[in-house]
Symmetry: C2
Subunit: 374 residues, 2 copies
C-alpha cells in the first residue's frame, strides 16, 4: 500500500413557498389558481445520444418520467433520440436557436464553437465525478457555467455522469510516447488537440462507423465510453488492447440544456421541480453506470479484452501537452479562464483531501480483492 | 504510482404516467380532482442530528424545501432537531411506533436492536459512497433493505452520504495493534465490537461530552465524522492525531425512514416526488461534504492536527476481526445474511473494476498534487 501518512503539511426555507392560496379560498377560485400553478407544459427534448446507449440516453427518459409522475402528467418532456430532430452533435444549437425547448448533451460537443462549453462537462486532467459534483452544486460551478451558457440562450443543469471513462481500444500495444506518433485515433475536441501535439492523428468518425474502421485498420484506436457501453459495440474483437485511464474524461458531466426563456417562463413550483429532478437524474446515471460497468468489465475480459494502463511516461507527456493548451486558452479566452481558475482551485483542494480516507480505504479494499481475501 | 496494468486475468474470469385526468374533464370536475392529487400533507420529521451539524442535519431541511417548493406549499415536512421530540438515537423508534411520520437517521443507530439495520447505512470494510449508491439504486439494495424495514413499519430511502469518514482523534500515536490494548475509544456498534476483539475498550459518549472527556483523558480517542464536522468541535486541541481511514464507514448512507402506512397512503404523484426529492437530497449531502471537507482539512492541519494513516498491520487485524463478527452474524441472523450476501457480490465487483480508470486517474492526479505540478 502506498504510504499516505506523509502528506506535506504545508500543502495544506429561505425562500417563500410558491403560490398556494387554493385551499383557503374554496372551490370557486380553485380552478384558476391551480391552472396557474400546474399548467400543462409540453417540451421537446433532443438527446445527443442514440437509444442504444440506454445509460446515457436513458437519463432524459428518467427526467421525463420524474417530471410527469410528480405533476400527474402536466409537465411533459417528449424525448427524441439523436438524429430524430437534429443530429446528435447539434443538440445544443437546436436549443440556442429555439428549435426545441431542451436537449441532453455534453458541453464538449460544442468545443469547436467555444472551448468554454467543455468546462461544464470534462476537460483533460480535471475533476473526478465526485469532485465535479461538489464543485458544481456547492462550489459555484453551476452558476459560473450558466453565466457563460446565457450568452447562448441556455440555462443548464447537470444531468448525468459516466464516471472516469476508459482510454479506449487499441489494435496494438502503446508502450511509449513514440508509439503515439502517426497513430490514427478516433478522438475529438481537447483530447485530440493534446494527442496531436504528441504526433497522433485524431480522427472524427461517427459511432456506428468505428467498428469497421478498426477492423480494416483505417484507424488504429478509438475512444468510446466505458465497459458497459463499449461491450455492446464489440470493439474487443478488432482492437483488443483496452487502455485506461481516459485522462480527458475523469468524471464527465452530461447536461440538460434548456432554453433560458422557456425555463424562466415556468412557474416557480415547476422550476424547483425541474431542478430537483435534474439533480436526481444526475445522480441516477452515475449510479447506473457504477452498477453496470463492473459486470461488463468482467465480461469484456472473459471475451478477450486485454487491460492495459497508460504508462507514466505517456500520462506525463499528455499532462504536459494539456497544460500547454490550457495556457493558450487562458491567454486568449476570458470566459474560459474565469471558469478554469475556479475549477483549478477545487482540483487542488480535492486531490489533497482525497489522499486521506477515500484513497486509503479504496486501496486497502483493492488489496483484499487482489489477495483473494475479499 | 502503483502498477495497475498487472491485474490478474484470472480474477476477472473466475467471477464469472401516473394519474392526471384533470385537464380533459373541464372546470366542473377540476377542483375535486386536483384536491385528490394535491392534498395538503403535513408530516413531522425528527432528525437524529443536532442543528449544529448543518451538513447532515441540513439534509432534512433540503428535503422539506424541495417538497414544499414543488407543491406550492401543499406537501410540508416540519423538521425537528434531535432531542426536540425524541432523543436523536431514538428517531427510528419514533417512526416505528407512529410518534412521527418520518425521521432522518442512520441505520446503524439501531444496531443494538438488530444489526441488520446497519447494512443500509455502513458496516466495516464494505462499500465506498459511489459503490453503495450503485448497489442501492440499481443493484437491488433499496428493495432488499425495505424488505427488512417493513418488519419495523418503515419505508426507507437513501437521504445522504458523508463519504469515507475519518478514523478519529487520538491523544497518542497508535503505531501497532498492541497500542490498541486498553485504549478507551468513543465508538459504537459494529466498529466497537471489532475493536473490542483487539483489546480496545469502546465507550458510549454523547457528542457534546466528547471534548471534555478527551481533554481530561477519561477517554483516549474518539471517532466523529470528517474534517468539516470535526473542525467545529475542536478535537485537534486535545487529541491531535487524526487517523484515517474510518474503516467502519467507507461510505455511510443516511436514511429517510417513513412510516410505511403513511407513505403508502400518499397519492402516486406525491410518492414519486418524494422518491425523486430523496434521491436529489441523497446526492446533495455528499456534494456538500465533498466541497467543505477539503477546505476544512487544510484548516485543521494549519491549526495543528497531525494526519496519520492506520498502519497496514492495524487495518489487517481489524479486517480479520470484522470478518469474524460477520461470520457470527451470517450464522445467527438470516435477514442480515440475505442483505450481506448481496452487498458482498457488489463489493467484489466494484473493487475489481475500480482498479482501472478511477483509481489510476485519481492516483495520477494525486502525484501531481504532491509534486506541486497541479
Amino acid at each position: 500500500m502506498k504510504k499516505t501518512n506523509q502528506i506535506d503539511r504545508r500543502a495544506f426555507l429561505t425562500r417563500a413557498t410558491v403560490g398556494g392560496t387554493v385551499a383557503a379560498t374554496g372551490a370557486a377560485l380553485a380552478a384558476p389558481a391551480i391552472a396557474q400553478e400546474m399548467p400543462e407544459v409540453k417540451w421537446r427534448l433532443t438527446s445527443a445520444f442514440p437509444k442504444s446507449l440506454d445509460t446515457i440516453y436513458g437519463g432524459a427518459e428518467v427526467l421525463s418520467k420524474y417530471l410527469s409522475e410528480a405533476t400527474g402528467g402536466k409537465f411533459q418532456l417528449q424525448v427524441f433520440a439523436g438524429g430524430e430532430i437534429v443530429p446528435g452533435l447539434q443538440a445544443q444549437d437546436a436549443v440556442t436557436d429555439g428549435t426545441v425547448e431542451a436537449c441532453h448533451s455534453v458541453g464538449y460537443y460544442s468545443w469547436g464553437k467555444d472551448p468554454t462549453f467543455a468546462l461544464g462537462s470534462a476537460v483533460p486532467f480535471a475533476l473526478s465525478a465526485r469532485a465535479m459534483n461538489a464543485w458544481q452544486y456547492h462550489g459555484g460551478g453551476i452558476d459560473l457555467y450558466n453565466e457563460f451558457l446565457a450568452t447562448h440562450n441556455i440555462f443548464g443543469l447537470p444531468g448525468g455522469n459516466t464516471g472516469a471513462q476508459m482510454g479506449g481500444w487499441f489494435r496494438k500495444e502503446i508502450a511509449s510516447v513514440d508509439d503515439l506518433k502517426g497513430l490514427k485515433i478516433r478522438v475529438g475536441g481537447f483530447a485530440g488537440k493534446v494527442l496531436e501535439r504528441l504526433g497522433a492523428v485524431p480522427q472524427q468518425i461517427a459511432g456506428g462507423d468505428i467498428y469497421p474502421a478498426l477492423e480494416k485498420g483505417t484507424i488504429d484506436a478509438s475512444e468510446w465510453v466505458g465497459p458497459y457501453d463499449d461491450l455492446k459495440l464489440g470493439f474487443y474483437k478488432v482492437a483488443p488492447y483496452y487502455y485506461y485511464p481516459g485522462w480527458w474524461e475523469g468524471g464527465p458531466t452530461v447536461h440538460f440544456f434548456f432554453s433560458k426563456e422557456k425555463y424562466e417562463s415556468l412557474p416557480d413550483n415547476y422550476k424547483s421541480l425541474l431542478r430537483t429532478a435534474c439533480q436526481a437524474v444526475d445522480a441516477d446515471m452515475l449510479q447506473k453506470y457504477d452498477h453496470l460497468n463492473p459486470v461488463a468489465l468482467k465480461e469484456l475480459v472473459a471475451s478477450g479484452a486485454q487491460l492495459r494502463s497508460f504508462s507514466a511516461e505517456i500520462l506525463d507527456a499528455c499532462y504536459k501537452a494539456a497544460n500547454e493548451v490550457y495556457a493558450e486558452l487562458e491567454a486568449s479566452n476570458a470566459p474560459f479562464k474565469k471558469i478554469w481558475d475556479s475549477l483549478k482551485v477545487a482540483r487542488a483542494d480535492w486531490y489533497l483531501y482525497n489522499q486521506t480516507s477515500e484513497y486509503t480505504y479504496d486501496t486497502f479494499m483493492m488489496i483484499q480483492q487482489r489477495n483473494g481475501t475479499l
